[in-house]
C-alpha cells in the first residue's frame, strides 16, 4: 500500500458518499413512464381519496337512514340514490370501499410476508425444513379455503375484521410461497449467496439480507396482485354473508343487497359494482406495470 493509496482511503472516509441512482428510483422511473402504470396509479390514488375523503363531503353517513326516501334514484339530495332501508348509496358505498381497500391491502401484506418467509426458509434450507413447510403449504392448498372461511365466519363478528384479514391472508399465501421457494432454491445457488456462505455469514442472516431482498421484485408485484385477489375473495365471501358482518358494510355485502333490487333499482347495484371493478382493475394495472418496471428484459411493457 503506497502513500497515495492511503490518502485516497483517507479522503473517502472524510467525504460524503455520492449515491448513484438507486434501484428504487430506476424502477419508479420506468413505472411512471408506462401508460398503464400512470393510469393505474392515478385511478388507485383517486379511489383512495374518494374512499377516505369522499364521506367528508356527503351530508349522510353510512348509518343514517332517510325515512323520506326509500329506494329513490340518484338525485341532488342522494347522489347515488338510496337503498330500500333509506340508506344513502353514496355514503354506504364509500364506507364499503374503505373496508374493502383496507382489508385487501392488509391481507395482501400479511400473506406476502408469510409467503416470503415460508418460501425462503423452505427453499434455502431444503431437507426437513422444506418437507414440513411444503407439506403445510400443500395442506392449505388442498383445504377448500372458501369453506373454511365460511365456517369460521361467525367469529368475524362486529369489530372483528382484523381477524378476518388474518384468516383471508392465511389462504392467499400458498401459491406465492411455492414460487418463492423455487426461486429461493435458484438464488441459493447464485454465487453471491455462496460467497456469503463461504464467508461465514449465518444462514438466517443470509436469507434476510440476500435471498428475500433479491426476490423483492416478485414479492412487490405479488403483493399488488394479492390486493386484488383479497378484495375479490372478500367480496365473494361477504356476498354470501360469510365475510364482513353487519352493521359494517363492504363491497360484497352491498353487491349482495344491490343485486336483489338491481332489476328495478339499478343504482343500488351498478355504482358499487362499477367502483369495485375500477378499483381492482387499477390495482392489476399497477401490478402489471410494476412487473415490467422491475424486469425490463421481459419486454412486455416495452414500447
Amino acid at each position: 500500500m503506497t502513500l497515495s493509496e492511503e490518502e485516497l482511503a483517507e479522503e473517502l472516509t472524510g467525504g460524503a458518499l455520492t449515491r448513484a441512482p438507486s434501484r428504487t428510483r430506476v424502477v419508479a422511473g420506468r413505472f411512471f413512464r408506462s401508460t398503464q402504470g400512470r393510469i393505474g396509479f392515478a385511478v388507485l390514488a383517486l379511489m383512495f381519496l374518494l374512499a377516505f375523503a369522499g364521506p367528508l363531503f356527503s351530508p349522510w353517513t353510512y348509518t343514517d337512514k332517510d325515512f323520506t326516501a326509500f329506494l329513490q334514484p340518484p338525485s341532488a339530495r342522494h347522489w347515488f340514490g338510496t337503498l330500500q332501508t333509506g340508506s344513502d348509496v353514496f355514503a354506504v358505498t364509500l364506507r364499503g370501499m374503505q373496508k374493502s381497500l383496507v382489508v385487501g391491502l392488509l391481507a395482501a401484506l400479511v400473506s406476502t410476508a408469510l409467503a416470503a418467509v415460508v418460501g425462503a426458509f423452505a427453499g434455502y434450507f431444503l431437507g426437513w425444513t422444506d418437507r414440513v413447510l411444503s407439506w403445510v403449504t400443500d395442506l392449505l392448498l388442498v383445504l377448500p379455503a372458501f369453506l373454511v372461511l365460511a365456517i369460521l365466519s361467525p367469529l368475524f363478528g362486529p369489530g372483528q375484521w382484523p381477524l378476518f384479514v388474518v384468516m383471508l391472508a392465511l389462504f392467499l399465501w400458498m401459491v406465492t410461497s411455492k414460487i418463492v421457494r423455487g426461486m429461493a432454491i435458484s438464488v441459493k445457488e447464485r454465487e453471491y449467496v455462496q460467497a456469503a456462505r463461504y464467508m461465514g455469514v449465518p444462514p438466517v442472516r443470509i436469507i434476510f439480507r440476500h435471498v428475500i431482498p433479491n426476490l423483492s421484485s416478485l414479492l412487490i408485484v405479488d403483493a399488488t396482485l394479492n390486493v386484488s385477489s383479497a378484495i375479490l375473495t372478500e367480496t365473494s365471501l361477504s356476498y354470501f354473508g360469510f365475510g364482513i358482518q353487519p352493521p359494517d358494510v363492504s363491497f360484497g355485502t352491498l353487491i349482495a343487497d344491490g343485486s336483489k333490487t338491481a332489476v328495478y333499482a339499478p343504482w343500488t347495484f351498478w355504482f358499487v359494482a362499477g367502483l369495485l371493478v375500477v378499483t381492482v382493475l387499477a390495482v392489476n394495472l399497477v401490478g402489471d406495470a410494476l412487473r415490467d418496471a422491475f424486469d425490463p428484459s421481459s419486454a412486455r411493457g416495452a414500447r
Binding site: A9, E11, R19
Partner: protein
C-alpha cells in the same frame, strides 16, 4: 471465382443505437472467412442481418447479395427459400437450438422437406445419412432420440447436419464451439471441415477466439464497435497486423505454448457501448498509439497491403508487439522450489451424488461418482491450477473444500486443520483465512447492494470496527477508484466487477484464495488485466491460490503446478512447464493438442490428437482406467496383453520425473503443443 456472398456497407440499428456500422465483405465458394471481435462488437448482429433473422425493430441498410441477388428488402417468401437451402446457420448454444419436443431425426427431415419435394421416409433416410456424416454413432437409432438425450457436442453436430441438409453455398457459424469443451471443440471443428469438404460451401466463422480462427480461416475480419477495423488474409492479420487493436488482442492472449511468465499486455479500458461511441476512432481511448488526430474523425479502412485493410491513421507505424504501456511487474519464471508449509492438503477425496431422472416422476437411477479419489496439496505462496473439462469433477472438488465439512471419504486439511474435526470457532477461523472468487463477476455480487456494502459484509461478519477505511484501501488495491464505493455492481464493466469480487475476497487478508474460473467470463482484452492483477497480488500479499479453470492457457500463465482431472480422478499432476512441455498422460496430451493456437503457421503444421466420442457418464465409469474408452494410446499403440492391465486395474498417479506424475500404466512423456 465470383463471390457467393457479398455484403457491402451493411448498417443495423436498433432505435438510436447503431450496432453495425458499414460492414463489407465477400466470400467465395470453399473459402472460410473468420469474423473476430469481443462481445458487443456487432459480429453476431451482422450475421443475423445477413440471414434476415433480426428481431423486429431493427433497421437494416446496405446490401447483401447472394449469388448476385439482393436480399435486403427482398420479399419474405424469397428469403424463406434461400434460408436453409443456399445459406444456413449454426448457432452458438447447441442446448437451446433444437426444439425440445421433436425427435432430432424429424427435425433434420423437416429441414430437408422444406426445400425438397420428397416423402417423409426419404427425408428421414437422408437425415440418418447426415447424422452419420457428422459423426454421430449409431445414426439410425439416435435419429429417434430427443435433443435432451444428446451431449452438447453431439447436439452441435445435429445442428451442423441440419445446416448442410440442402447442400448450402454459405454456412454462417456463430460461435459454434464457444459453449463446448476444448476436446469437443476440436471434434466439432473437424466435422465442420468435413461438412465444408462435402458441400463445397463458403463458411463464415464468427468467434471471439483468435485460436479457432487461426487454424480454420483463410481470411479474417476483425470487428470493433460495430465496424471492421482490420481485414486481410489470415497470415497478414496474425503476423503483419496494422491496427493497434489487433496487436492488443493478440498480445493479451495467454499462450499455452509459451513457458516462463511473460506478463500479458491487457488493453486499457473497456470496449465502448454502441450507444455512446467516442468521437473519431472508437478505439482511440484505449489505444497506446493515440495522437490528437485520432479523435478528429473515424478512420476509413486503409489499403495497407494486398487485400489487407486497416482502419488506423498510423498504420505504417503499427507492427507486432509494440512496447506495452501496461506491462505487469515481471515475475520471472515459475517457482521451481516448492514452499515448506502446506496450506491445503487433499487426500483420496471421494464424493458421490445420487443421480435422479425425470422432473415430474423424480426417481433415483444411480450414483454419480463425481470425485473418485483425488489427492493433491498446495504449499504456501504457490498456485495450483486444477484443470479439466465439464464433468471432470473439478467443481465438486472445489465445493468439497469450501464446505469445510467432513468429506464422504478421504481427508481435507485446510491451513493445518482437518475438516472432519473442526469446532465451530475453528471453522469460523478458517472461513476468515480462506476466501473464494467466483466465475461470473455479476452473479457473485449481490445486485441490490452497493459496492461499499458488498465489501463491508466480510468485515462485519468477522467483527472489526468501521470498515470504510479498509474498503477504500481494498478498492485501491485492485485498481479501482475508491470513490466508486457507492455504486452498484451493474454500474461496472465485467472486468471491474471481477476486481470487486477479488477485493471482497481479500478484505480479511486471507492466506488461501480459491479461484473458480475467475477469468473465463471475461473478454480476452479484459482477462489479461485481471490475470496480471491476480499475479501481482499473490506476490505482494504472499497468497496461495487454488485456481480452477478449463482454459489450459490461462493456467499455464498463472500456475506453478497443475493438476489435470478426468472423470473424477487426477490424470496428471506436476510442475506447470514440465507438464505442458512433455505431458505423460494420453489425456493431457490430447487436451493440450486440442487447444488452438493463435498462430496460423503452427496451426497448419500441427498434428491434432482427436479424442473419440463423449465423456462416459460419471454414474457408470469404465472399469480399470477411466480414460481407456477414449484413449488413443489404448486404441492404437498397445498390444492386447498391455490393454488387459488398463481394463482391469485403475492406475494411480505415479511419478514420471521431478514433480510430474501421471495416472497411466504406460505413461510416456511426449511433446504435443
Amino acid at each position: 471465382m465470383s463471390p457467393v456472398l457479398e455484403v457491402s456497407d451493411l448498417n443495423v440499428s436498433f432505435g438510436d443505437v447503431r450496432a453495425v456500422r458499414g460492414v463489407s465483405y465477400s466470400v467465395s465458394p470453399g473459402e472460410v472467412l473468420g469474423i473476430v471481435g469481443e462481445s458487443g462488437s456487432g459480429k453476431s448482429v451482422t450475421s443475423a442481418a445477413v440471414m434476415g433473422l433480426l428481431p423486429p425493430g431493427a433497421r437494416v441498410t446496405g446490401s447483401v447479395r447472394l449469388h448476385g441477388r439482393e436480399l435486403i428488402g427482398a420479399p419474405e417468401r424469397a428469403l424463406n427459400s434461400f434460408r436453409g437451402r443456399s445459406m444456413s446457420m449454426v448457432f452458438q448454444d447447441p442446448l437451446s437450438a433444437l426444439t425440445p419436443v421433436y425427435r432430432v431425426g424429424d427435425q433434420i427431415a423437416e429441414a430437408v422437406r422444406v426445400h425438397q419435394r420428397v416423402s417423409k421416409e426419404t427425408a428421414l433416410i437422408k437425415a440418418v445419412e447426415l447424422l452419420d456424416l457428422v459423426g454421430i454413432p449409431h445414426p439410425s437409432e439416435r435419429a429417434l432420440a430427443f435433443p435432451h438425450e444428446f451431449s452438447g457436442g453431439m447436439r452441435q453436430r445435429v445442428v451442423i447436419a441440419m445446416a448442410i441438409a440442402n447442400d448450402p453455398d454459405v454456412i454462417i457459424c456463430d460461435e459454434p464451439t464457444t459453449a463446448l469443451d476444448v476436446t469437443v471443440q476440436a471434434q466439432v471443428l473437424e466435422v465442420l471441415k468435413r461438412a465444408q469438404a462435402k458441400t463445397g460451401a463458403a463458411i463464415i466463422m464468427i468467434t471471439h477466439d483468435l485460436g479457432v480462427v487461426a487454424g480454420f480461416a483463410d481470411r479474417v475480419l476483425v470487428m470493433y464497435a460495430g465496424r471492421p477495423v482490420e481485414v486481410g488474409p489470415v497470415d497478414d492479420i496474425y503476423y503483419r497486423m496494422r491496427m493497434p487493436y489487433t496487436v492488443g488482442l493478440l498480445g493479451s492472449i495467454p499462450r499455452v505454448d509459451r513457458d516462463g511468465r511473460q506478463p500479458l499486455v491487457p488493453i486499457d479500458g473497456n470496449p465502448p457501448s454502441p450507444a455512446a461511441l467516442p468521437p473519431g476512432c472508437p478505439f482511440a481511448p484505449r489505444c497506446p498509439m493515440r495522437i490528437d488526430a485520432c479523435e478528429e474523425s473515424e478512420p476509413p479502412l486503409f489499403e495497407v497491403g494486398e487485400e489487407h485493410g486497416a482502419a488506423c491513421i498510423r498504420w505504417q507505424e503499427v507492427g507486432p508487439r509494440p512496447p506495452g504501456r501496461h506491462a505487469a511487474p515481471g515475475e520471472g519464471v515459475h517457482l521451481r522450489v516448492r514452499g515448506e508449509r502446506t496450506v491445503l492438503d487433499v487426500r483420496n477425496l471421494v464424493k458421490d451424488y445420487p443421480l435422479f431422472k425425470g422432473a415430474v416422476f423424480k426417481r433415483r437411477v444411480g450414483t454419480v461418482h463425481a470425485v473418485a479419489g483425488v489427492s493433491f496439496d498446495l504449499r504456501q505462496g504457490e498456485t495450483l491450477g486444477l484443470v479439466g473439462e465439464s464433468g471432470s469433477g473439478k467443481t465438486t472438488t472445489l465445493t468439497e473444500i469450501l464446505e469445510l465439512a467432513a468429506p464422504q471419504e478421504g481427508g481435507i486439511v485446510v491451513l493445518g486443520h482437518d475438516t472432519a474435526r473442526l469446532t465451530r470457532s475453528e471453522r469460523r477461523e478458517i472461513r476468515r483465512d480462506m476466501q473464494v472468487v467466483f466465475q461470473d463477476p455479476l452473479a457473485s455480487l449481490d445486485p441490490r447492494m452497493p459496492v461499499h456494502d458488498i465489501l463491508a459484509e466480510p468485515l462485519r461478519t468477522h467483527g472489526g470496527g468501521d470498515p470504510r477505511r479498509r474498503i477504500g484501501e481494498l478498492l485501491a488495491l485492485v485498481g479501482l477508484d475508491p470513490s466508486h464505493a457507492a455504486r452498484y455492481p451493474q454500474d461496472f464493466s465485467g472486468g471491474q466487477r471481477q476486481r470487486i469480487g477479488i477485493a471482497r475476497a481479500l478484505a480479511l487478508e486471507p492466506r488461501l484464495l480459491v479461484l473458480d474460473e475467475p477469468v473465463s467470463a471475461l473478454d480476452v482484452s479484459i482477462q489479461a488485466g485481471v490475470i496480471n492483477l491476480l499475479d501481482s497480488l499473490r506476490t505482494r500479499l504472499g497468497l496461495s491460490y487454488l485456481f480452477v479453470a478449463h482454459d489450459l492457457a490461462v493456467v499455464r500463465h498463472i500456475a506453478d503446478r497443475v493438476a489435470v482431472m478426468y472423470l473424477g480422478r487426477i490424470a496428471e499432476i506436476g510442475q506447470v512447464d514440465t507438464v505442458y512441455n512433455a505431458p505423460g498422460h494420453p489425456y493431457t496430451q490430447a487436451l493440450l493438442s486440442a487447444i488452438p493456437l493463435p498462430d496460423p503457421a503452427r496451426e497448419r503444421s500441427r498434428e491434432r490428437i482427436l479424442l473419440e466420442g463423449d465423456l462416459p457418464s460419471p454414474a457408470n465409469p469404465p472399469t480399470g482406467c477411466r480414460f481407456r474408452t477414449r484413449c488413443p494410446k489404448f486404441r492404437a499403440e498397445l498390444t492386447d496383453d498391455e490393454r488387459r492391465l488398463c481394463v482391469a486395474v485403475e492406475p494411480e498417479v505415479r511419478a514420471l520425473g521431478d514433480d510430474q506424475g501421471a495416472a497411466c500404466h504406460y505413461a510416456d512423456r511426449r511433446e504435443v503443443v
